[in-house]
């Protein structure tokens, strides 16, 4: 659960771009978190409505289905920024210097290609559900109370576009590191051994316990 690795910063343009994008990513991440929170209240309202006031929420499932993409996808770039998407780093963890940055460059490039294709694919998915001529612009609706689905589908290409920007920044940094051979590139998550990550994780928990 390597959820937070350190990312170095300095005054360079690349690092400033990293930090500016981070603000957007944090905003998207917070929307994710708030959506989880909203889901919690919706359930409480639904159970309360049914058991106490005898008036269940119509379309409870529909609302959940509309909210889930916000929760599950909106923060994808925020997680990528700190290296929070899990991977197996037994091999990469042993590399150092140019060899390491080259490996990172190649895998990051592949991910960028993947994400660009998925932006296309998920945009097409959105487009099929969207029609300017239709009521509520909707060409796809939920089963029970017929909510338009297009806003939920639009979340995916939107979040992926931010991720693509993040990947471009990381790719640039890795590219520069391959050329310069530096040990301390900015704007990318530093590889740490599992113990360091665990210590950070533990410290985060400890901080909360004391709070």
């Amino acid at each position: 659960m390597a959820l937070k690795a350190s990312v170095l910063t300095d005054d360079s343009l690349l690092s400033r771009m990293d930090q500016t994008l981070l603000k957007l990513e944090q905003f998207f991440g917070l929307i994710s978190g708030l959506a989880v929170f909203a889901l919690m209240f919706l359930a409480v309202y639904s159970v309360g409505g049914r058991n106490i006031f005898d008036s269940p929420v119509r379309g409870y499932v529909d609302w959940i289905e509309i909210t889930m993409p916000l929760i599950a996808i909106m923060g994808i770039s925020y997680t990528q920024r700190d290296g929070g998407h899990i991977r197996m780093d037994i091999l990469v963890g042993r590399l150092r210097g140019r060899l390491l940055w080259s490996a990172e460059f190649v895998t990051t490039f592949l991910v960028l290609v993947l994400i660009l294709l998925l932006i296309w694919g998920s945009w097409a998915h959105f487009q099929r559900s969207f029609d300017f001529a239709a009521p509520l612009w909707s060409r796809d609706s939920t089963i029970d109370i017929k909510l338009p689905v297009w806003p939920a589908k639009l979340v995916v290409p939107m979040a992926f576009t931010v991720l693509a920007m993040r990947l471009c920044i990381q790719l640039t940094s890795y590219g520069k590191a391959v050329i310069s051979g530096t040990d301390t590139p900015v704007a990318v998550p530093m590889i740490e051994d599992a113990a360091t990550i665990a210590a950070r994780e533990a410290a985060a928990v400890t901080g909360r316990e004391q709070a």
Partner: protein, 313 residues
């Protein structure tokens, strides 16, 4: 060269998919194995996205239900209006075919690059439930029910309280008291475990059903050789006959004895009161449907009249 079609359906092989299986068998037979169908139960797409898959061209044939996504296929949702008065699978086939052949419907599905091939006729979604049986129409007031789409709207007008849960959670919803009753076709009442707990069943309420067509990708259809196309289109009636026979004998054959064995109370309503109920619920929901779909540019009144007219024959 040999033609192989991928077919996207979902769940397990059951009465509801027997016409597709039959179709694959017939087509292969008639073309000496030159044209085959590879039926996938859920492997190719999520059921609510089969129409998207057809539109993309990911597979050539698929099944879906109109009510899953009314905005994708507004024209055929007319067949899901409550209390249309369909009582047999044969009637359901006739009325579906009439609507499928209407130019507005063809254009509606044409937006998805889809051509309607045949219906999957479903019996009426009668209610099974626990607690006090709604033996009169007045008893529907305050009854919690899992019913979606037009049936849900009709239930609301009768004073019942529809609550949405997925079909997988339906049984748990009954167990946990979220709903007292579930509107399903008989096979679904059996396969989702509702009959293990149900105390009553509304035999002749016949509030409506869902419409689940089989469609093919129009480009793939056009790319077939003449003999292949003939084998496909010429097998529709035989496949449907097989389906209806299977449903009536296998599924309904189990249904009656099951009701008896479990001691389920079979509720038959007074015909006059039933007519009142239809009046109360069917009219307003149909009127609302017509108004909404006129706004979409569909000849809604014409489609509705076509249904009623076909049933009158």
């Amino acid at each position: 060269a040999a033609t192989e079609w991928n077919v996207s359906v979902w769940g397990k092989r059951r009465a509801f998919t027997e016409h597709v299986e039959k179709m694959a068998e017939l087509v292969s037979e008639k073309t000496n194995g030159e044209f085959t169908m590879n039926i996938s139960y859920g492997g190719l797409s999520k059921n609510t996205e089969n129409l998207d898959g057809i539109s993309i061209g990911a597979f050539e044939m698929a099944q879906f239900c109109a009510g899953y996504h009314a905005d994708k296929n507004p024209s055929i949702t007319v067949l899901e209006l409550p209390f249309l008065g369909v009582s047999t699978l044969e009637e359901e086939v006739a009325v579906s075919k009439a609507i499928y052949a209407h130019p507005a419907t063809i254009a509606d599905l044409g937006r998805w690059n889809a051509t309607l091939l045949m219906p999957s006729p479903m019996p009426q979604y009668n209610l099974a439930g626990v607690g006090d049986a709604p033996s009169t129409i007045a008893d529907f007031k305050g009854l919690t029910v899992r019913a979606t789409g037009g049936i849900g709207e009709a239930m609301t007008l009768a004073g019942a309280v529809p609550t949405s849960v997925t079909s997988e959670e339906a049984r748990q919803a009954v167990d946990s008291g979220i709903v007292k009753s579930i509107a399903f076709a008989p096979h679904a009442h059996m396969s989702f475990g509702i009959m293990e707990v149900a105390k009553w069943w509304t035999a002749d309420l016949n509030p409506g059903t869902v419409n689940c067509p089989i469609v093919v990708n129009t480009d793939a259809l056009n790319a077939l050789s003449d003999s292949e196309r003939e084998a496909l289109l010429g097998s529709v009636d035989e496949s449907l006959a097989y389906y209806i026979d299977y449903y009536n004998n296998e599924t309904m054959g189990k249904w009656g004895p099951l009701l008896e064995e479990k001691g389920v109370e079979v509720i038959n309503y007074n015909p006059e009161r039933l007519a009142e109920f239809r009046e109360l619920a069917a009219g307003p929901v149909a009127a609302k449907w017509i108004e909404e779909n006129n706004a979409r540019g569909l000849p809604a009144q014409e489609l509705y009249d076509l249904v009623i007219e076909t049933l009158g024959k």
